[in-house]
């Protein structure tokens, strides 16, 4: 099981701050998440970055248990 962390606008779009997914690759989890949360989340995901364990990662990256996936929408700090 990988943990998905949904930050800022992504947590609004998903209706939760974290979730758990089975999936062989990062891409599997993201596709499953769009099915689970709906089209608005899918739209936001297209402009967001997805990091694995604190670093950018390719969609094909294979997941291990306890992996932490973060969805990072465009930022607006300061």
């Amino acid at each position: 099981m990988a943990k998905l962390i949904l930050l800022g606008p992504a947590h609004d779009a998903a209706g939760r701050r974290e979730d758990h997914f089975d999936g062989v690759t990062l891409d599997d989890v993201l596709k499953e998440a769009v099915i689970r949360y709906g089209a608005d989340f899918g739209t936001l995901l297209e402009v967001s970055q997805v990091w694995l364990n604190g670093e950018p990662a390719a969609p094909a990256t294979r997941l291990e248990s306890h992996d932490e996936i973060m969805v990072l929408p465009p930022v607006s700090g300061g």
């Binding site: 930050l7 604190g54 929408p73 465009p74 930022v75 607006s76 300061g78």
Partner: protein, 154 residues
């Protein structure tokens, strides 16, 4: 370009910020210049009038790590930098109150100005932080966003 632990003061906090405390903290005997930037909640954004407060959200652990990257990059570019302090508030912040403070010291002012401006520019571009604009009776995520980038690309 590593920095001694005592030379940087980074914080993501729910508590009110004190620009004065940061400005004083960065003073060192060999420094003739302190530049302090304070980001303040203002009453409008590019898309909204009558803003009364902002609400910030982040993952604090990731944000602090990215802030450290910002400071490391600043030190690589301006080796004369002495102390650097960056504090960012999370949660609700009212009109005219500081949301972020950057304070830096250096022997001469050119490096202090350049590094302070770099730090706030790089923070906005590379630190995971999202703000919601609040007005009487409603709120929305800020439209003034950019895809998250790296400090070294600023």
């Amino acid at each position: 370009m590593s920095s001694a632990p005592t030379s940087d003061w980074i914080s993501i906090t729910e508590n009110p910020l004190s620009p004065d405390e940061l400005s004083n903290w960065v003073i060192r005997p060999n420094c003739g210049a302190v530049v302090t930037f304070s980001g303040i909640v203002r009453d409008h954004s590019s898309t909204r009038e009558n803003v009364i407060a902002l609400e910030y959200e982040t993952n604090s652990e990731l944000a602090e790590q990215r802030l450290r990257d910002v400071v490391d990059e600043a030190r690589a570019r301006w080796p004369a930098l002495e102390r650097v302090a960056i504090h960012h508030r999370i949660g609700r912040v009212e009109l005219s109150v500081s949301t972020v403070v950057v304070a830096v010291s250096a022997p001469h002012r050119d490096a202090a100005f350049a590094a302070a401006q770099f730090c706030i520019d790089a923070l906005k571009a590379s630190v995971p932080m999202w703000k919601r604009e609040l007005w009487e009776g409603g709120s929305a995520w800020s439209d003034e966003t950019s895809p998250i980038g790296n400090a070294r690309d600023q």
